[in-house]
Amino acid sequence: MSLRLEGVSKIVNGETHIHPADIVLEKGSMNVLLGPTSAGKTSLMRLMAGLDKPDTGRIFWEDQDVTGKRVQDRDIAMVYQQFVNYPSMTVYDNIASPLKLRKKSAAEIDARVREMAELLKLTSILGSKPAEISGGQQQRCAMARALAKDVGLVLMDEPLANLDYKLREELRVEIPRLFKASGSIFVYATTEPEEALLLGGNTATLWEGRITQFGPAMDVYRGPVDATTARVYSDPPMNFVSVQKDAAGIRFPDGQLIPATGETGNIPDGTYRAGFRAHNLEIGTLQPGAVSFAAKLIVTELTGSDTFLHVSVAGERWIGLIPGLQDFRAGQELPIGLNPESLFYFDEQDQLVAAPDQPVDMERV
């Protein structure tokens, strides 16, 4: 069981939604489509499902061309961002409906529905109508219906986006469990890098209708092929600073010089963009060897236990993630630092030339 897209593209009203894409999803793999809103995640997923027809290219399922095949005849299931259930049916009948259409025996259907209900904690509300249960339960019901069929390809289009924070956390950890139990190919669209890492498997990063990179989640996270991928795979987006490489080392706009060690030693002289993730920005006591900057604080955002600092440094706007709740005033000067070993280097075509070789601190994304 594998899904292969060959040069698949989608153009709507003269606007290219998906540039020709090639991708192979292997049997029993978890694949995360990661990209900001309107990057083409949903469009790509609809092409995979067969809900939309590609303008060019072919789609193969187990080496059979399924490009024009009706969705009814495909081996797929889909969960939407909206909670889609049949309002006139009970939760039980919702889960049972695809099984009934597959002409299973009543006993088989009942066993499967109860198994799915157990797996998704719906047993106590099997008799309720979708309108009578909470949003989280509605989405569980939709997932149960999708998984009950036991199909080869399960598509989930931001299934947790419409849930509140608590429920999202709760359901998020269940998805790997459901995935393992199903043995299907999963395709999961999300805007959050954190979710992509948590689910693991493969990540395909999308940007303006293009798949910029596809590979194991950690490989893409640690070695984004270009600046766009790096930006997509960082939340908040990666910060950039323009640097100059010459014989002496790597020079920052304010004149600071750091030695070009490791991979950076091998890159030719010239102008590069150095990028780093928000959590690599440091304040307070800097580690030895850190590059230091005088930053001006624009605004602070407090999240539950961390603080986002929006600072301006030499005309660039950076976002830093600092643990703990910090109380700073907007407009105040802050000394900040960067560990040079956390820097990614991109050339003028935005291609990655050097990535940090140390294992990246995985606690924060």
């Binding site: 009814q72 049949y86 597959r102």
Partner: protein, 278 residues
């Protein structure tokens, strides 16, 4: 303490609004009340004196209607063509409205608007062509003739109302059903129709009502066999003058079906008046 004056004010305000409401209701109900009491009076009482209640309560007027086929067949005829019309309108409008709500096709917006403009022409305009056409294909004086003629304004209305209700159903439901393996017909009847059931009820009500009250086309296209009650009522001038009591009874009986139908769709009627776009 502090909210007491406000409360008192609100109470006096509500007393005024109750008065206004009662006055308005009375104003609306006077003609209906008058019709109802007339139907229980004899002609002599109606013409001879001014009474707020029937002095000599009588059911003779109703007896006349239920005993005379030329009267009660009017109701039967009306009921037959109105039901036919409602069924035809719904059967035609359901797929049409689905197409308008789900697909983009050449000229869809223009067609959709044009449908509504059909309602802007007075039925009198269509009386002549329908009369001539139905006479020449020997449909004249049949129930189906009136039912088809009424489709002229009921189908566009039904499409408009249903489209509004259907637009409220997310497209993802259709897609999920297709992915689950539903064929179109099965999806439409098992999942989609139950979801827009209130819309169908409201649409049926409007079709029923407009067809029931329409006089001109139904009178022009019938003579004996399919003559509707509204036509009979307007022709009841006998040699002895108007039969007031019987006419009033017929009027009461004409209001009842509408009142029954509206009872079933009362919760959705406002949305229907907004053509489903609330």
């Amino acid at each position: 303490m502090s909210d007491k004056p406000a409360k008192r004010k609100r109470r006096s305000g509500s007393r005024l609004s109750i008065l206004v409401m009662i006055a308005y209701l009375a104003f609306l109900l006077v003609p209906i009340y008058w019709l109802v009491i007339m139907s229980f009076k004899s002609n002599a009482e109606i013409l001879g004196m001014f009474t707020l209640f029937p002095e000599n309560f009588t059911l003779d007027n109703y007896r006349t209607i239920f005993g005379d086929p030329s009267w009660y067949m009017g109701y039967v005829n009306s009921f037959i063509y109105v039901s036919l019309n409602t069924v035809i309108s719904l059967l035609v409008a359901l797929p049409a409205a689905y197409a308008f709500s789900r697909f983009r096709f050449f000229g869809d917006n223009h067609l959709f608007f044009w449908l509504l403009t059909n309602r802007m022409a007075p039925p009198a305009v269509f009386a002549l062509p329908f009369f001539q056409l139905y006479s020449s294909v020997s449909l004249f004086d049949t129930h189906i003739a009136v039912a088809l003629a009424h489709c002229l304004f009921n189908v566009p209305l039904a499409v408009w109302i249903l489209e509004g209700f259907m637009r409220g159903v997310p497209r993802e439901i259709d897609e999920t059903a297709f992915i689950d393996g539903y064929g179109f017909t099965r999806f439409f009847t098992r999942i989609f129709i139950p979801m827009i059931a209130p819309g169908i009820g409201v649409t049926a009500f409007f079709c029923f009502m407009f067809s029931w009250v329409e006089l001109l086309l139904s009178r022009t296209l019938t003579s004996v066999e399919a003559k509707p009650i509204t036509a009979i009522m307007t022709r009841t001038v006998s040699a002895s003058g108007l039969d007031w009591g019987v006419l009033a009874a017929a009027g009461v009986l004409t209001i009842i079906p509408g009142a029954i139908v509206i009872y079933f769709v009362r919760n959705h009627i406002a949305k229907g008046f907004a053509l489903g776009r609330v």
